[in-house]
Amino acid sequence: MRLHGKVAVVTGGAQGIGRAIALGLGREGAKIVVADLQSDKAKNVVDELQALGTEGYPAEVNVANESSVKRLANATFDRFGRVDILVNDAGVYLKSLVVEMSEELWDRTINVNLGGNFLCSRAFISSMRKQKSGRIISIASGIAHYGAKEFAPYAASKAAIIGFVKALAREVGADGITVNAICPGAANTAMPRTHRTEEELMARLRTNPLGHVLEPEDFVGPILFLASDAASYITGQAINVNCGSYMI
């Protein structure tokens, strides 16, 4: 168990890739704060963590709201006394052409996806600084690199996350904290299902050089690597986990 005694906060941990990451880190012995807007689903993930033999705590959070994020940080320290790993996974994926887009859709995407990274990272940095170690891992997207028609705010927010990660890495490296991003390729989760038929989605998911349909669990290995001591000299990077669909 590579993460025994560690504490991890996973935003967006109630479903999809975030849930898989929460369970994956828990399987390696970490105690997990499952932070999500959907508290009922977060409780279910905590039950799953307990069944794996580790501890979990469900925390309701709106990552775009600073006081909500502060409550998350306080709840984490009250419950577990420290934090070693923050996974910024919470995000929205809203569809609109740029020329038809409401300002509200743009703002919400930027505030949740990018603002959430900023607020959550900041809330846990001082504690990581004191212990001279920490791991911040943000879930960006392949769309940050290649764009996506009708998803300009999502693409912009994910590209901005990569810029944020690079800048923050340079601010906190001296304190033993690494900051990296993972760029998942299109995966078999609920998120793309809001905008595609089942047939369209599965056809698209198979279209990559390895011909493999990416599942949420497929991102756990790279997260575990970045969270472990093995990656202590890797920071400010965006790691593509996409079956070779985009090589940059």
């Binding site: 490296g173 790279p222 890797i234 079956c243 070779g244 090589m247």
Partner: protein
Amino acid sequence: MSRGGARHAEAKSGRILNTASNYGVTGSALRTPYSAAKAGIIAFTKTLAQELAPDGILVNTVAPGPTDTPRVMGKESPEARKQRWSQIPMGRTGQPEDLAEAFYFLTTPESNWITGQTFHVNGGLVTP
């Protein structure tokens, strides 16, 4: 070497790991052939990854930054070394072991869905 390995990959699996350098992305004055060769390795890795993906063979490259090896350390005064550290966000030069960890990860099932990529192990010095 890659071609020799690929011909033997009848089991529909395999890993090819190349070693590039951060100079392959940033360039480095007075190191034209080295930088060009390392940039070439990155493009070679991507191309080979596309060619071998149907056979389940993954091809990735590790790009080290400043690493404590005899070749680097032998040329560096203590002052130059301190100066170098001040430019590296993690505040130290890399150890060969840091690179070994990245190579090892790229041989495990945990990296099954990563191919054609460049892993920069440089303490945050270069963040392309």
